[in-house]
């Protein structure tokens, strides 16, 4: 109880599609991937740009949760402040593009830099800035564990939220609008499906990284540090360093998702730092199923679908969503993937 570590992600020897025993989960994963390719292509043919936007939103949320899953799933670190990194990614995009669009130099020394509308540069800045923030927050909050860690990450999230509100230069409470989506060399990002392709590629890279980490020495050591920190220490590894690295990596990926999300909406505001968003990222992972590679993806897709369909039925859809979440936590361990594919291997 007191350590707050959660039940886990077993190292998966067969990589992204899992061993034979997990045939149904692998099939489900393949179907999800197929859906993420086919549905937007269908939407292009049927001229339904809104559907593409919806799927893009789901894919970006999934990437944010895949980032969180490195800290939460592999490291057992229940971070309730991951919106910080999402927001930093968003503001990295917002600030760089705002300077470029308004012809106000960001800095003039040592060289003149006028901001940029180029996605690769923005992504690099978003990843570096959120990794740096994750490193600093991790350095402070990983001194503790369990509920302390949860409360501290939540509090730091609120700190960034209030700071963004009071930062009048970049829109304060109102945020910033970027009028034209940023560019990517060789692509027309104004075309929804091409931007979607970029987001999906980022998600796949994130999933690949997660799958590889699970069976890499680092992932195994991190998993061990979650289950038995004393033993890890006894073999000469430092659990704190492992967790700090995992937390930093996790923040960097969520930061990238934030930059993409800002570009999807062409808008950033302090709500990207809100604690509700941090909570929702955790919900995505649990809704899909903890200890599942595709858990965050399934969870994010379900959330966006419910938000769309239930939200159209009633403006109070959060009541139903809350009740569903409650039922899953209390009675349905294993999330939606667990319901379909049976228990995770670790519990066999």
């Amino acid at each position: 109880m007191s350590t707050g570590q959660i039940g886990g992600q077993p190292p998966n020897p067969r990589g992204i599609f899992g061993p034979k025993k997990q045939g149904r989960e692998a099939l489900l994963n393949a179907l999800v991937l197929l859906g993420l390719v086919i549905v937007p292509l269908w939407a292009v043919m049927a001229d339904e740009p809104f559907t593409i936007t919806l799927v893009t939103r789901a894919v970006i949320f999934a990437l944010a949760a895949v980032g969180l899953n490195i800290a939460l799933g592999l490291g057992g670190l229940v971070s309730l402040g991951h919106a910080v990194f999402f927001g930093i990614g968003g503001y990295a995009m917002g600030i760089l593009a705002w300077h470029a669009q308004n012809y106000v130099p960001l800095f003039e020394w040592p060289v003149l830099f006028e901001g940029t509308k180029s996605m690769p540069v923005i992504w690099a800045v978003a990843v570096l800035a959120s990794a740096l923030a994750a490193f600093c927050i991790g350095l402070l909050s990983l001194r503790t564990s369990g509920v302390y860690f949860i409360m501290i990450t939540l509090a730091f999230g609120q700190m960034f939220y209030y700071f963004a509100i009071s930062w009048a230069r970049y829109g304060g409470e109102d945020g910033m609008s970027i009028y034209v989506r940023n560019g990517f060399p060789g692509l027309n990002t104004l075309d929804p499906i091409q931007f979607y392709g970029l987001c999906l590629a980022a998600l796949l890279l994130g999933l690949l990284l997660h799958a590889r980490l699970r069976r890499a020495p680092f992932g195994l050591a991190l998993n061990a540090a979650r289950q038995a920190p004393e033993r890890v220490r006894a073999v000469g590894l430092d659990p704190l360093r492992l967790r700090l690295l995992a937390f930093t990596l996790s923040g960097a990926i969520t930061g990238l998702a934030g930059a993409l999300f800002a570009d999807l909406n062409r808008f950033v505001s302090p709500t990207m730092f809100s604690w509700q968003l941090s909570g929702e990222f955790i919900v995505f992972i649990i809704l899909g199923g903890t200890a599942r590679l595709f858990g965050p993806v399934v969870g994010a897709v379900l959330f966006v679908l419910m938000e769309h369909w239930l939200g159209a039925l009633t403006e109070y859809w959060h009541i139903g969503f809350g009740a569903l979440l409650l039922l899953i936590v209390l009675f349905g361990q294993g999330g939606v993937i667990g319901l379909i594919a049976g228990k995770a291997r670790a519990h066999d």
Binding site: L140, R143, T144, A155, Y162, V283, I286, G322, A323, L326
Partner: protein
Amino acid sequence: MTFSLILEQVLNGLQSGIMLFLMAAGLTLIFGVMGLINLAHGSLYMVGAFCAAAVAGLTGSFVLGLAAALAGAALAGALIELVVIRRLYARDHLDQVLATFALILIFSEGTRWVFGSFPLYLDVPDALSGPVALPLGIQYPAYRLAIIVVGLVVAAGLFWLIGRTRLGIRIRAGENDREMIAALGVDIGRLYTIVFALGAALAGLAGALVGAIQSVQVGMGEPVLILAFVVIVIGGIGSIKGAFIGALLVGLTDTLGRIFLPELFKLVMEPSAATQAGSALAQIAIYVLMAAVLVWRPTGLFGARA
């Protein structure tokens, strides 16, 4: 910047600190006794404020409103303890976070459904609506002074309850060894429900008292909940004394920072930039305080356990 202005701000800081204490005390009790992290504590604060505003609006009596806040929040607390929370004691913190996050969604949207999105207003009772004259020529709102007094009385009552009564002995015993006191014949399930309802009533009282100064609206509880977490991190989990000291520190830092940091910056910067930088720093001052405590003492000022 006069001396009386400084004193007035110190009183404001005390007032917000004492209200924070009412929130943090419940949270820290619930964590100490049941090992549960309750994100829905902010919802109970909101329930208290809405009960008070609704009943005071119907009857015109502020005291009845306060009673309704206490009863409504305690009832809501006991209900969610019996239906949901009790299934979470043996679970890990992740499940507790998720389930209580779900409760926030249900409470917030449920309240919006019943009362609508517009804020309600809870009027300060007539007898306390004016200022009072304090020594040194300070005029201070009577209601805010009354809140400080009520908060201090409740805090004293809580210390007495925990330290001097049979229930308090059981609560402290429950913190130390729950199997043992269950073996000694204490109905541990009922004790948990009582502790949870007590914490909920304290949150509801705070919500109602603050609701008369600010507006009563959906989502009012969560910013206070997060501040209460900062208080607990500073004071140490499970320690009522820590919650008291932490709450006063946070309340004073926040209130005084907002007033004095911009002034302080004006000494070295031009006024408009100083106001901006000062108020930005004031927004995050309490989190800087929390970080400093974490570096110095990771388990908080009065925390015994890691």
